[in-house]
Symmetry: C2
Subunit: 249 residues, 2 copies
């Protein structure tokens, strides 16, 4: 049977190598749905379904990060982490990542109140995203930080997405891709801090294993969302109650 | 946009009618995977994947029910609900629903330690089942009870499963179907209590709406599990790290 047998992680360097291996084999840049999305193989309705569902993930991230902050008595870590909340929520009167995501859904012509209600998202999206929020609350602070490490692998996918979507879709304009362009700057900084944190605070083989498992968990959170989109909107098995794009009615 | 517009539920009779309508349109007896399963259209590897994943659901039910019990200060309700835990766990030295499920996975030739480890289940299975456990902890006691109401619709599916699987699969014997035969007796009794409970305790249109939404939530928990099985094992998109039956290697 395929029970994973992993060798003991004896140092932070071995752990980092394992983390990068997890990224190289499980990050959602490898998912067939992303290959279709970036390669211009989806129709507008399918891109809308993706943007609508992904909004639930985007808008849950600052909630997730507020929980991460709440796990630390160490003020320095809270001060380091707090900008992640603002990155997504924006400063009062300013624009944040959620606003930039809504520009994308606006640009695709999805009613904003409908997007914000999250009424039409796939149940699988909700379960996966909620699992992420619960994970950072229920696991150790070390695992909570480690679960953010997918950002180590995000730059490549954002670059590919910006150029691929602009090239292939006439309904995608430079303006609506602002979210991803901004993340090109934000994600590497955040990932760098989280990687240094887990390298400094995972002291035993068991803790290093837990860090790696937290990253595997997070890659599953991302992968499940794309599996569900593929099943519903590429293979055409839209579950009861979920969004049906005008283009697919 | 397809935002659901539901009319106000003015009585417990209107609520019951709405609950039965939800069952008739969203219960997982309607799912294509079940039609394949009961109609003999799956191969043994696909049936194994179903039984392996469903074990995580089965083995989480007594945990879910222990949380439900913990939500009530009213001792009478706790005394009524406790047999659900024993139904699945069995009395000391006796046999419960989880044992009967393991007879099924044994009969299919899946290593028992591997099943019990849950290492190979789909991440979507875990997220959906955990969402159910969290739901009964985080929502009102009324919603926690209401989320069990899928049992109102279980008898038909169990009868169909027993006869369909025995008829169509030479690797399914009468003995391994013991779980479902037993549920034919247990589920209607439990569902009857839960239905009377929500009818007696949902006093306002808002509470009746919450009861109905709890049932919709639960139908989603079941539907998502079958969507994920279909995508992985019928359409062949098995995600990284998940079980690969010998028959599909």
């Amino acid at each position: 049977m395929n029970v994973a047998v992993t060798k003991e992680l004896r140092s932070s360097e071995e752990m980092e190598a394992r983390l990068r291996e997890i990224g190289a084999t499980r990050y959602h840049n490898l998912h067939p749905f992303h290959k279709l999305l970036h390669g211009g193989k989806l129709n507008k309705g399918q891109v809308k379904a993706w943007a609508l569902n992904r909004f639930y993930y985007q808008s849950s991230i600052p909630i997730k990060d507020a929980i991460v902050i709440s796990r630390f008595r160490d003020r320095e870590i809270r001060r380091e982490w707090i900008h992640r909340v603002s990155d997504h929520d924006g400063e009062p009167g300013g624009e944040g990542g959620i606003d930039r995501w809504l520009k994308l859904t606006d640009g695709l012509g999805i009613d904003r109140a409908y997007v914000e209600s999250t009424a039409g998202i796939l149940a699988a999206t909700r379960f996966a995203v909620d699992a992420y929020v619960n994970f950072v609350r229920d696991r150790t602070p070390l695992e909570a930080v480690a679960s953010s490490l997918t950002e180590l692998f995000a730059s490549g996918i954002h670059e590919e997405r910006i150029s691929g979507m602009l090239e292939h879709y006439d309904f995608i304009t430079d303006d609506v891709m602002a979210y991803f362009r901004r993340r090109l700057v934000q994600a590497p900084r955040d990932a760098g801090f989280a990687l240094e944190f887990v390298k400094a605070h995972a002291h035993t083989p068991e803790e290093r294993e837990a860090v790696c498992n937290a990253l595997i968990f997070k890659t599953n959170v991302l992968w499940v969302q794309l599996d569900a989109l593929y099943h519903a909107y590429v293979d055409g098995h839209i579950p009861p109650g979920a969004y049906v794009p005008e283009e697919m009615r």
